[in-house]
Subunit: 113 residues, 2 copies
DNA sequence: GGCAATATAGCGACCATCGACATATGCCAC
DNA sequence: GTGGCATATGTCGATGGTCGCTATATTGCC
């Protein structure tokens, strides 16, 4: 299997992370991401719905039924097995990169001259 | 100080990481990044030199002298204090994101099809 | 009556990255 | 002795994910 998303961007990563745990509808994802990041990342609607379409097309996310609440339609999405695998692979890649940077920074002196 | 680069992309992150430790010239950065990532990431020249210009303009990287080796000019770059701080902040962000995803994936069952 | 929150979606613009190209030197094989 | 590869720097056009703005509709609060 090819790594479909090398260099996944942060918003995409956080969307997949939000869907790992329980299916959510679009607006729920936005709130979840904001909560997870402590308000640091606020997904715009454009980013979110475009990403959900793209990820659905890539098979990392799939529709999980609709629901009508107070006259508003909710479209639910959930991670596919491929989506879970992609998220895990990306998480490991991030951790490796973070550890590498931290290790090198530890031995780094700001302007040695 | 403001976090200049929220949502830094992977190539940019790896360039800064390569420069944390010792000043390098462009081509040296390309080799270092390839080595660090085990060949997973091979920076194209376009990405590298554009990024160095951009990062220099943002004050995260600075020129560190030139050298002529075998008739070929080497332009060295090094991390600025601001660059080190930005890299560290980004590394911590990556680790938080990776940990969050891993935690949620642990409690996730790939839907029983 | 207006404004915020909920909920979905399209559209134009931005910009980091990529791939291809350009240029030049040193070295090794054929 | 020429063709190819590694070294070394850079430009340029295309791609594509994200952002900001806009549109639409309902509920609830002041």
């Amino acid at each position: 299997m090819v790594a479909i998303l090398p260099g996944m961007r942060e918003p995409t990563f956080l969307i997949l992370t939000a869907l790992a745990g329980a299916p959510l509808h679009g607006y729920g994802v936005i709130r979840q991401v904001a909560e997870h990041s402590g308000g640091r990342v606020t997904l715009s609607a454009g980013t979110l719905y475009a990403a959900l379409d793209r990820l659905t097309g890539e098979g990392l996310v799939e529709a999980s039924g609709e629901e009508e609440v107070d006259g508003r339609v909710r479209r639910y999405y959930r991670l596919t097995p491929a989506g879970g695998a992609a998220l895990q692979a990306e998480a490991e890649s991030l951790r490796r990169n973070a550890d590498l940077a931290t290790r090198r920074l530890a031995a780094w002196s700001p302007h040695p001259a």
